[in-house]
């Protein structure tokens, strides 16, 4: 019962007396001024809303099922290598005295991972969204602004200058960049002890716009090291910014993708960040066949002091992203509720309709 009621009563002719020399103060008889603009007056009756409930139910339930199935088909494995448990191979690295420590964790993939596989690292209880932390960066410096390079923003305090030289990249975010190295090996078979290294791709993990527009090295033709010569590396870093990826010029300095990924501060204190890509080889072989793997970790990043945890995640991905049962379940639930309510209201409505002969009553 939606009706378009055009109540326009303008009778076309000019209002007021014809040839009115006497100025009449009669209000204009326009639809707007008389509050009689033509208007669509939707009337939400049971008759109009009930079909909506059914339609919503009918649309939402299949979508939900689709998402749920997709999500369930995603393979995901998570390996915690914090090393707080004494049994963990990485337990030895917790001692503060150890400068560079390596540990290895074995794990088994029960099912093979097909298609592209994404390797994430995950941190817990790490407040990348703390206000003091979030603002502690200088985007002009990261954009390659030469003046900001030498004179970083005040927001970077207390990671702005060190030994009287500007820090590049400055700020708490950059200073705390994740610096564990993860390497993955497949144990081909029990007999052959020599593991096969899985090729990990470092590029293509950051947003294209970040990599190409937002982050830039300082301009100039000289070498990267030359460009950064007046700056000093962040306090916690082992190597300078121009040494992040010495092999690849397009992945070094500020445009190093690991760095860019880290600089996109996470929304929640438990988060994952994309570390490497494992590209699928061909259709015949799964990218990561089921079997024994071990993870080689260069353990640099301290999380024990703030009760944090570190994880390595391997995950395949679908059109809707990573594994996330929430969306599917929510769609199915809402769709069902909607459908059920539709049924209930239909029954109620029918009862009323039978007892009274009136047609849809307008408001």
């Amino acid at each position: 019962a939606m009706n378009y009621s055009a109540k326009d009563e303008v009778d076309g002719g000019p209002a007021g007396p014809p040839g009115g020399a006497a100025k009449t103060r009669r209000p204009d008889n326009t639809a707007f001024k008389q509050q009689r603009l033509p208007a669509w007056q939707p009337i939400l009756t049971a008759g109009t809303v009930l079909p909506t409930f059914f339609i919503i139910g009918l649309i939402f339930i299949p979508i939900g099922i689709g998402i749920f199935v997709t999500s369930n088909n995603i393979r995901e494995i998570e390996i915690d290598y914090t090393g707080t448990e004494p049994s963990s191979p990485c337990n030895k690295c917790l001692s503060p005295n150890v400068t560079s420590c390596a540990c290895t964790i074995n794990f088994t993939l029960k099912q093979s991972f097909e298609g592209n596989v994404f390797m994430y690292y995950g941190l817990s209880n790490f407040y990348q969204n703390h206000r003091r932390y979030v603002k502690s960066r200088d985007d002009s410096q990261l954009n390659g602004d030469p003046s900001a390079l030498l004179n970083p923003s005040k927001e970077c305090e207390p990671y702005r200058r060190n030994e009287d030289r500007p820090i590049a990249p400055c700020g708490a975010i950059a200073n705390s960049m994740f610096n564990d190295t993860l390497e993955l090996y497949l144990v081909a078979n029990e007999s052959d002890p020599k593991p096969i290294p899985i090729p990990l791709k470092k590029k293509g993990i950051a947003w294209w716009t970040d990599k190409n527009v937002k982050f830039r090295n300082p301009p100039g033709k000289e070498s990267l090291e030359e460009k950064f010569k007046d700056t000093i590396k962040p306090v916690n870093w082992h190597k300078a910014v121009y040494e992040l990826d010495p092999e690849d010029e397009s992945n070094n300095g500020f445009i190093n993708e690991d760095f860019i990924v880290w600089m996109r501060t996470a929304a929640l204190p438990t988060f994952r960040k994309l570390y490497r890509l494992i590209e699928r080889r061909d259709d015949l072989h799964p990218t990561l066949p089921a079997g024994q793997y071990f993870l080689n970790i260069t353990y640099n990043y301290p999380v024990h002091s703030f009760d944090g945890r570190k994880r390595m995640i391997l995950s395949t991905i679908s059109w809707m992203g990573g594994k996330n049962p929430f969306l599917g379940i929510a769609y199915i639930t809402i769709g069902s509720i909607s459908f059920l309510l539709g049924v209930v209201l239909l029954v109620i409505n029918h009862k009323y309709r039978n007892s009274s002969n009136t047609a849809d009553i307008t408001i």
Binding site: L37, L44, Y331, I334
Partner: protein, 1129 residues
């Protein structure tokens, strides 16, 4: 009345002491006394508030006196001084915007005022100086200057008329710009200066004027002019308002006049009256303030909770300062207490959007723009006066939808106030008005025995009295000099009754021909012209309720004619004459006519000498002149001879009865407050269906009370009796009163002025309180109340009494005359009718309409719609800002209570300004949740919104819970969505700004769609702003994230929005979350719909049974005023 006294108090009491002496032409009077130059202010009018220099500080000061602006200023200052999560821009920009817009508006208005002032101050005037005509700027006029004014010019200051170009020293003036009365009024010069109509002669005048210090009352002036002709002896003449020409009035029909300035500049009566009305505050505004306090409390609680939790959380050192996120040296050194305080302030700032600046702007705009619809409404246009409704204040639009009590005047409001002479009685003989030729008087009404003719002399005397005892003026249409016999003139008077009477007399052969040089000319039945010298007049006023003139006939007899209400005449005439006339008067009153009695008295010459002396003395008095005059007249007006009575019909206004019925049906209580006599008022009340035939009337009048010896005892008895009756009828449940009305016996109460004052000002204090409370109990139980014989102040008293009732009901007063001004000012909403009794009521009202019938649409349609609109606006604003801020609050639990904002600064700023402001503004201007025709047709719909129904605790909680639910859904929906490694099919990750943007997108869409769900009237404007706002949001987000903004320190939002939309999951999640948020709302609509459907059915059943037992249609007493189809509901 009240305002006037207030004005007097405000405008410098010390200056008012004593009188001022003005030397005409500034010529000192040699020898009499030393010339002391009194200092008066110059003639500059300053209506502007600001100058170029003080504009900024003064305007800012005034703006920040508003509590809301001040609050936002504080927030802004906190943001500037303390290290806060959001930049000062987020709250500074809206505040700056609001302040600037207001400042520009006020500045512009002030500039206009400056311009108007300048126009007035610099205009050329002519002053007589040293016998020459000197051209000067208006602002240079000094007190005492002799000013020449020509026709159609406005007077530059308050002048005492010295002479005019006419020989009789009169001039015509229209005060349209002062009080809206466009008729010409005659002003007089003092007799001794009439002749001085050249510049030379006027320069030779030596005179002083003594007058009171400036007073704001336009109609009051007391002064004395002393003229020093050749001799030293001065001639003193009294001056009254008829000698005073007010600044702002315009000279008409007179070539030029000379006047002497007495009050100049800011001391003129116009300037003293130039004052804003006291602010009335609507119920909605009070609700807004209450909500504000609730939300302020929520804000403080949130900030306090967050601060506390922050310090609890930070108690473990690895949370306070982990290695990756160290504090600066400064932060470490700050005192703990100071840090906690700044943290508290920071949280306040973060959550301050919960109290939106923009709401004030939107509410103001809604009120301002919305009020145009009233003045644009063509239904309020009246052909006769060629005017529509006028809105004097836009603050009270919604109050029109909240009225509980309507107080209406009778004359001119319920009735037309277009008087028609119906009949008269002379010595008990009745004469019907006819238009027969010469001997019109012979026509009498047949059947009744005593309808023979009265004595011829008595007839003539009666008609002469009608011709003499009035204040009617002649206005010739073409010529200034003297009335031309025939059709060339019209009668003008402030009172339509008098015109009706004069015209009535004319019908019977006595024609009033005007007033010349103090002589009244009357043409009698034999076409002879009689002249009467007008000796003294005492005008009609509502306290005395009579007027008198003293004239000298050509023969030299001195006669006093007096006409007035029967109650004031009967005690003053010989008692044996009353009986005959009284019958007539009462019968006429029963028929709803206005009656006046006419009496006369012959004054012996000796007595006259004495009386004349007394009157002259009284007239010369500087202070309390009126009182003194009244006293003298009071003494003369005794032992008069009653000649007869007149009956004048006041027609009921078009659709007055329907309007009253509609108002009753809408659950309003209508009280009629009138100065008229009881019988007249009662019959009008029946005619306009305030009382039905089956209404039982309870009377508390002098009549019922005087039966007993001790009035108070009788009053007490009656009060108790009535109360018992009513309490018996209505069981204690006052709640269901409105329902009870339709089912029980209806009661009407009639009370008159004297009884009311007996109740209110009873001698024993304790019992008077008691009386008053009993009286109020009775009043509240009655459907209709009629208060007759009310003085203006009593009207206001009644309104005040009702206003202060328990539950403080909203009162509305409607009236047309000056006597209604006090009640119009007193009530919550004052409505003026642009009637025949001048424009005072319309000027002092909040709204003015041409007719009483317009009240129906004004309340039932405009009031209802405005209320619903603004109530929805207010609730929606609080709702959308709670939705907005709640996710930000919840986010604090996930970011270590670090005051990290969830949304980008641009979103924080723009949310209320751009993304969600226009749809609600359009809604609040255009919404018609029930369409206009239905609202007019079914007055009962008005009851739905009484008692501020949409802003009570229930709806408020509903909206608040809805907002809380939605805010939670937004946040946790997104939170669960983020429990995955990636949302994109390329495995890339999203950061905190994407999180915020998703929440914000859902938020903007949800609140806008929520409004769309509430909109019942979709004009193209609604479509445009709703979909336009959403489109703008999307467009803006792309734009904002599409560029590296050079002025921003951080490029937080760079491509965040575009990247977000690359993910299918995000799309699905946004749709899902919007739907979940709106789901309860949709469900509620459906449930309500089903409930309404069943309610409708019950209603229609009841209505069917109602129509069977329809009340007997009330037969109105004044049949000729409305047609039969009007009976149909």
């Amino acid at each position: 009345m009240f305002r006037r006294t207030l004005n007097r108090l405000c405008a410098g009491e010390e200056k008012r002491v004593g009188t001022r002496t003005v030397f005409v032409g500034n010529h000192p009077i040699s020898g009499t006394e030393p010339y002391i130059a009194q200092r008066f202010c110059d003639n500059r009018i300053v209506s502007s508030k600001y100058t170029l220099w003080n504009f900024l500080p003064k305007n800012l000061f005034e703006q920040f006196r508003r509590i809301a602006n001040f609050y936002f200023l504080i927030i802004f200052l906190v943001q500037v001084t303390v290290d806060t999560p959001t930049s000062p821009v987020t709250s500074g920009l809206p505040l700056f915007f609001v302040i600037t817009v207001t400042a520009i508006k006020q500045g512009y208005e002030d500039w206009l005022r400056h311009r108007a002032d300048n126009e007035v101050n610099k205009s050329a005037v002519y002053i007589i100086e040293n016998a020459k005509r000197v051209r000067k700027e208006s602002e240079k006029i000094k007190v005492g200057d002799v000013v020449e004014v020509q026709a159609n010019e406005t007077f530059p200051c308050d002048l005492i008329l010295l002479s005019s170009c006419t020989t009789d020293g009169t001039c015509y003036v229209t005060t349209a710009s002062l009080d809206g009365e466009s008729n010409c009024k005659t002003h007089y010069a003092v007799r001794d200066t009439i002749a001085l109509c050249t510049a030379e002669s006027i320069d030779n005048l030596r005179a002083t004027i003594e007058c009171e210090q400036p007073q704001p009352d336009l109609y009051r002036f007391v002064g004395r002019i002393s003229i020093y002709s050749n001799s030293i002896e001065a001639v003193a003449r009294s001056l009254g308002p008829e000698n005073l020409l007010l600044k702002g009035a315009t000279l008409k029909n007179t070539k030029k006049i000379y006047g002497v300035a007495v009050y100049t500049g800011m001391e003129t009566k116009m300037a003293l009256n130039y004052q804003g009305k006291s602010q009335k505050c609507s119920a909605v505004e009070k609700s807004i303030n209450a909500f504000l306090i609730v939300y302020l409390f929520i804000l403080l609680t949130k900030a306090a909770v967050c601060t506390t939790l922050k310090y609890v959380w930070q108690s473990s050192p690895y949370n306070d300062e982990p290695w990756y996120n160290q504090k600066t040296q400064k932060e470490r050194e700050t005192f703990q207490v100071l840090k906690m305080f700044t943290d508290f302030l920071s949280f306040m700032v973060l959550f301050n959007f919960i109290i939106p600046v923009s709401m004030y702007v939107t509410v103001e705009m809604q009120k301002f723009l919305g009020s145009f619809f009233i003045s644009w409404d063509k239904d309020f246009f009246d052909e006769e006066i060629n005017e529509g409704a006028l809105v004097n204040t836009s603050d009270l639009n919604e109050e029109l939808g909240q009225v509980d009590y309507v107080f209406t005047d009778k004359t001119g409001t319920l009735t037309e106030n277009s008087m028609e002479f119906i009949e008269c009685c002379i010595d008990g003989h009745k004469y019907k008005g006819t238009t027969q030729e010469v001997d019109g008087l012979s026509q009498t009404d047949g059947p009744l025995a005593y309808f023979d003719k009265a004595d011829k002399n008595r007839e003539a005397l009666f008609l002469r009295a009608l011709c003499l005892c009035h204040t009617v003026e002649m206005k010739t249409n073409d010529d200034v000099d003297g009335p031309v016999e025939g059709a060339g003139f019209t009668y003008i008077s402030s009172s339509p009754d008098e015109i009706a009477l004069v015209k009535g007399a004319k019908r019977f052969g006595f024609t009033f021909l005007g007033n010349q040089n103090g002589y009244i000319r009357v043409e009698n039945q034999r076409k002879e012209i009689e002249e009467y010298e007008l000796l003294h007049t005492l005008n009609f006023d509502s306290v005395r309720r009579r007027m008198s003139v003293i004239v000298r006939t050509q023969k030299g007899d001195i006669l006093l004619f007096c006409k007035g209400a029967d109650s004031s005449i009967f005690p003053r005439v010989h008692s044996h004459q009353i009986e005959l006339t009284k019958d007539h008067v009462e019968r006429n009153a029963m028929d709803g006519y206005r009656t006046l009695c006419v009496a006369f008295k012959e004054i012996p010459p000796d007595d006259f000498e004495r009386i004349n002396a007394q009157l002259v003395e009284a007239k010369m008095a500087l202070q309390d002149r009126e009182e003194k005059l009244e006293k003298v007249f009071d003494e003369i007006e005794t032992n008069m001879n009653l000649i007869g009575a007149t009956a004048v019909e006041d027609k009921l206004q078009d659709q007055a009865a329907e309007t009253i019925e509609a108002l009753h049906a809408a659950g309003l209580k209508v009280w009629v407050l009138t100065g008229d006599k009881m019988e007249t008022a009662k019959s009008t009340c029946y005619a306009c269906r305030l009382f039905q035939t089956n209404t039982e009337l309870l009377e508390l009048t002098t009549k019922t009370i005087e039966e007993s010896e001790r009035k108070e005892d009788r009053l007490h008895e009656l009060l108790i009796e009535y109360r018992k009756k009513l309490l018996h009828e209505f069981p204690k449940s006052t709640r269901s009163l409105k329902k009870a009305w339709t089912e029980h016996q209806e009661y009407g109460l009639i009370i008159d002025g004297s009884t009311l004052s007996l109740i209110l000002n009873s001698s024993q204090d304790c019992s008077s309180n008691n009386y008053k409370s009993i009286f109020l109990q009775i009043c509240m139980k009655c459907t209709a109340v009629l208060c007759c014989r009310m003085a203006p102040l009593q009207k206001a008293q009644i309104v005040r009494m009702v206003k202060n009732l328990k539950g403080s009901p909203i009162t509305l007063s409607i009236g047309d005359g000056a006597n209604d001004v006090s009640m119009i000012l007193e009530s919550h909403v004052g409505i003026g009718i642009k009637g025949k009794e001048g424009r005072q009521a319309a000027r002092n009202s909040d709204y003015s309409v041409p007719k009483f019938k317009h009240l129906k649409k004004l309340l039932l349609v405009h009031g209802h719609l405005y209320y619903v609109r603004i109530a929805h606006l207010v609730q929606y604003f609080f709702y959308k800002n709670l939705c907005f801020i709640l996710p930000q609050f919840l986010y604090q639990f996930f970011c270590g209570f670090s005051q990290q904002p969830l949304y980008d600064a641009a979103y924080l700023t723009m949310y209320n300004i751009c993304f969600t402001s226009l749809p609600i503004l359009a809604y609040s201007l255009l919404e018609q949740h029930i369409n206009i025709d239905t609202l007019t047709a079914d007055p009962r719909l008005y009851m739905k919104i009484t008692g501020n129904a949409m802003l009570q605790l229930g709806p408020f909680l509903h909206w608040t819970f809805l907002a809380a639910f939605e805010g939670t859904v937004f946040f946790f929906g997104t939170y669960f969505l983020f429990q995955t490694s990636s949302l994109e099919d390329n495995g890339k990750i999203y950061g905190n700004w994407t999180f915020g943007t998703i929440v914000f997108t859902v938020l903007v869409f949800t609140v806008t769609l929520k409004l769309a769900l509430d909109t019942r009237f979709w004009t193209w404007i609604n479509h445009f702003v709703i979909w336009g706002s959403l489109a703008f949001y999307v467009f803006f987000s792309f734009f904002w994230g599409g560029i590296i903004w050079p002025f921003l320190k951080q490029q937080r939002m760079y491509f965040v929005f575009a990247q977000m939309l690359c993910s299918v999951s995000t799309w699905l999640a946004i749709i899902l979350l919007i739907f979940i948020s709106l789901f309860p709302e949709i469900l509620l609509i459906v449930v309500k719909n089903v409930r309404r459907r069943s309610a409708r059915r019950n209603l229609s059943c009841r209505r069917a049974s109602d129509s069977l037992s329809a009340r007997p249609s009330v037969r109105p007493l004044l049949l000729r005023t409305f047609s039969d189809e009007s009976n149909i509901l």
